[in-house]
C-alpha cells in the first residue's frame, strides 16, 4: 500500500497500538476486519502527501498463459512498488485480494465498494500488471 517498508511498519505498529489503546478503554476492536480497515486508512493518509497515481488506461487485454512464469522472476518488492503506485481504490483492492485472506464480499464490505467497481478495478489491475510484465520481462513474454 505504501511501497516503503519503514512506512508500512510504522502504520502496522500504530494500528496495533490503537487496538491496544481501545482494548484498554474496554472498546476492543470487534473483529479482524477492523485492523485492515484501520491500516488501510492510515496508509491512504500517509500516501496522500506523496505523488499521486494516475488512472490507468482501460484497454482490453489478455492475461498471458505464461504470466505465472513471468511473475516467478519478480521480487516481492517489485510487486509491492507496483501495487503502491496504483490509484485508489485499485491499490487497496489489489493489496487485499492478493493477500488471499478474504472473500470478495468481505473485501467489498471493507472497502465499501460494489461488485462492479471491485471486479472492474481488479480486472484492469491484472491487465495493467500484465502489460507491465510484458514490458519489464519481454523475453519471457515472447516465449
Amino acid at each position: 500500500m505504501t511501497g516503503e517498508a519503514p512506512k508500512a511498519q510504522d502504520i502496522f505498529q500504530d494500528t496495533v497500538r490503537e487496538a491496544a489503546f481501545l482494548a484498554a478503554k474496554g472498546e476492543a476492536p470487534p473483529n479482524r476486519y477492523w485492523f485492515f480497515r484501520e491500516a488501510r486508512w492510515r496508509c491512504l493518509d500517509v500516501v496522500a502527501h506523496g505523488v499521486q497515481a494516475e488512472e490507468g488506461t482501460k484497454k482490453a487485454c489478455e492475461i498471458s498463459p505464461h504470466a505465472s512464469e513471468q511473475i516467478e522472476q519478480l521480487e516481492p518488492e517489485q510487486l509491492a512498488i507496483w501495487i503502491s503506485a496504483a490509484p485508489e481504490p485499485q491499490r487497496s483492492i489489489l493489496a487485499l485480494y492478493y493477500l488471499d485472506e478474504f472473500n470478495y464480499r468481505e473485501m467489498m464490505s471493507m472497502l465499501d465498494l460494489k461488485l462492479y467497481e471491485f471486479a472492474r478495478a481488479l480486472a484492469s489491475g491484472r491487465c495493467e500488471f500484465q502489460a507491465w510484465l510484458n514490458a519489464t520481462l519481454p523475453a519471457a513474454a515472447e516465449e
Binding site: A28, N31, I63, P65, S68, P76, Y104, F129
Partner: protein
Amino acid sequence: MKHLSRRLRLLAECAPIANVKAPDRRMRSAVSRAKRTDDFASQQSFDRALAKLVQATPVSREIEEWFANEKMAAGAKRSWKKTAFHPAILAIGIALVVIAVVAWIQFDEQMHAFPGTATAKKLLNVAAMTRPSDFEPVQAEAGTLTDLFFMKYRLEHYDVPREFSQQRTIGVRKFDDDEAGQVGQIGLAEKRMQLFLFPAPQDSKTGKPEEFAGWRYIEQEGWTGAVQVHNGILFMAAVRGTKKDLAPYLAKH
C-alpha cells in the same frame, strides 16, 4: 469468459485465488461456468503466482514478534452484558416486555370475564354519574325492595342478596337501558354504595340466561363492582374504591 453473463463475469473476476469453497452460491456458479473457459485458467494461474509472490514478502523480525501470539488480532468478543445493553437488543427486550404485559392484562381480563361484563362496566359508569337526587326517596332495608320492584314495575326475581339485604336505602329508581334492559338501581346510605339489578344475558343457542357461580369483581375508573347472578338476574354492588371496600360485606356470609 466473454460468453458468460455480465454478472457472472464480474463474479468470476473476483473468484477465490485458493481452491477454497466459494462464499456463496452465485460465486460457485460463476466459478463453475468460468472453469470451462481458457482465459479463466490463465487468470487463476496469474492470481496464484501473484499471491505466492505476496506470501514471499519479507516481514521484519519486529513485526513477526507481534504475531507470536496469533490471538492478538482475533478481536474481542462481546460480553453478554454488553450485548444485552446494545440499543437494538434493549429496544427489542422492552418491546417484548410491553407485549407480554398487554397480553397478560388481556388474558387476566378474559379469565375474570363473566356473562354481562360489558353491561356491568357500563352500569359502573352510570353509578359514577348518579346523584342522590336522581333517586325516588325510599328509606327501608334493601332486602325489602324485592316486593317494590315486583309490585310497582312488574320485575320478577329482582332480589337483593342477603349480603346487602340489611343495608339502609336512601332511594330507588328503575330505568331502561339498550344493553342491560330494565335496570333496578338502589342507593344505599353506607359509603354511598349503589346496587344494580338487571337481566343476565341469554345464551344465543338455548335462550336461557347465562349463569356463573360466586362473586366476580370488575373495576372501572375508580369504581369497583361485585357481581352475582341468581334466577337469571344479575346483581351488582358498586362502590367508589377498590375490592377491599366491598370485601367486608361479602365476607360476612
